[in-house]
Symmetry: C2
Subunit: 322 residues, 2 copies
């Protein structure tokens, strides 16, 4: 079989139906020119976020290509969710050591499935030789002035977290006999970006962030940007129920607080919006619990069920200290 | 010295004055949140393009970091120029094997200088460990419906090329004793994105592309997208004068036609717009010559000064056949 050129690769694998963006009201021009063109409707702002996954740093060698593609796109979509934005399209830079058609077939299938599920299609990008590296930039729309910025939290705001925490971190740190490997793969490779919750919270919540580095670390980013602190009630942290099969409650709580990679949302909102927050959570069918309050005093303080203060040493993932 | 965290790196090197985008009319939010936010004025479309440079594939090991940064940004800006768009900001994903402060200092200085020169500041991105890989996405504005798409060429249109061709290719293919190395470095690392020419040509030229793969290859992309062909007058090709010092006229012409990496623009326009094209070129102080015509017959045919047909074997850079 003759070797595929870059143009063949793009045509065969990336501009396929269901994956490549088609021209429409927002996407004016997709794959195949010097630039893609987007039209942004009046009253909207374009949110954009870029994230890179490198083999042997962010995922193991020989990671299943279909799942890998899903993860690469969904962790980026989570950043749109955390901003309250609705996806409109993404760009992809794919560096790979050689042209492996079977790998490309599986990778592009995973990408297509994720793109279709979350209505976010491929606008363009770059393919090149190099160590396996996947960079994706997502683009979304949010009503002007309503984005969920990190700096918006005020003292007295409730702190909410969606879903449950800790399982993705477990899937990274160890092979676990007590748990089904496919459950762990799902947690790591297929996090669900909380897009409906995020876009519903735009203009309602005061601040938002997604949990990539760990609950304490990411809440810390909100506190820092808002020049505030936080008090957390440890009894209210939604620890993943699956963790109980494989460790004690203390270990599970520590993983839920510091583990990262769950891509759940942290949202803050004034107590006056409590009813609206719960109505939103129900309407988008997403678990959402209040785990504490934003404070004027800096730092994050954790209290156990008896009201005793607790500290945790490791606060989250550090990109250059692995 | 304690090891720098990702946040320290961003703060110290990338969000420095002159490099990090500051909030304004277009940039609503820059570095430091889950997403950056852009506002697109009514009547404008957002053009976006992504390009990746991998060490040992696109640039040599130990490439000078300041020049490397300049190249990474300027080749992306060239895509905006080719679309007729004016830059508004860029995102950067930087994978690097370790945190080398001296390297980061030089790299971010190069990036800052290029950003300031072309009014395109850093909106956000990602830094991570990994083999040295630089992915940049640029964002620009172009009046709605006026972008220089590849598919716009019509039979009878003049074909123009800016500047002169061949020197960048020479700088890649060989160390040349007859030429000053700094001249070659400049050609390779600091191509000038033809932004003023491109934005002036939006709504005037019928099609545009920048020369990254080689004149014949990139003109071929325009012809393919427009379902047209081209006739070129070889005597009119603007071969870089510096090449004459180091090779004969035939070799120089071949390099100018097939070499790539010059990042000059190919523009097409109906003969009725000839005066406007030349007035534009003068007003932006950029050499622009007519090198041939778009034809209904497919394929690119080259004629020498005697009207004899000539063919060239290698048509341009192939990303997976190096």
């Amino acid at each position: 079989m003759p070797r595929l050129s870059e143009f063949d690769i793009i045509k065969t694998f990336f501009n396929q139906p269901g994956l490549g963006a088609r021209p429409g009201e927002i996407t004016r021009l997709g794959i195949g020119d010097d630039c893609a063109l987007l039209s942004v409707p009046p009253g909207k702002e374009l949110a954009l976020s870029m994230d890179t996954l490198v083999e042997k740093i962010h995922f193991p060698e020989n990671a299943p290509p279909e799942l890998l593609a899903w993860r690469a796109l969904s962790v980026n979509l989570s950043d749109l969710a955390a901003m309250g934005a609705t996806p409109v399209g993404f760009t992809l830079s794919l560096a790979m050591p050689a042209v492996n058609e079977s790998w490309l077939q599986q990778f592009s299938t995973g990408l297509k499935n994720c793109a279709e599920k979350f209505h976010c299609h491929l606008l363009g990008g770059d393919t090149t030789r190099g160590p396996l590296t996947i960079t994706i930039q997502v683009h979304g729309l949010v009503s002007s002035g309503q984005a969920l910025v990190r700096s918006g939290a005020s003292a007295g705001d409730n702190i909410y977290v969606s879903g449950s925490l800790g399982l993705a971190a477990l899937s990274i740190t160890r092979f676990d006999e007590a748990l089904d490997q496919s459950l762990l793969d799902e947690a790591f490779y297929k996090p669900v970006p909380r897009l409906a919750l995020g876009s519903g919270a735009a203009g309602l919540a005061s601040a938002g962030i997604d949990i990539s580095d760990g609950l304490l670390a990411d809440l810390g980013h909100v506190c820092l940007a808002s020049s505030k602190g936080a008090e957390l009630q440890l009894a209210d942290i939604p620890v993943s129920p699956s963790l109980e099969k494989s460790m004690n409650a203390e270990e599970a709580l520590a993983l839920a607080l510091t583990g990262g990679d769950d891509y759940e949302l942290i949202l803050t909102a004034p107590p006056s919006r409590e009813d609206e927050m719960q109505t939103l959570a129900q309407s988008v069918d997403t678990p959402l619990v209040c785990i504490g309050k934003i404070t004027d005093a800096e730092g994050i303080t954790c209290f156990d069920g008896l009201g005793e203060q607790r500290t945790f040493q490791k606060s989250g993932y550090q990109h250059f200290n692995a």
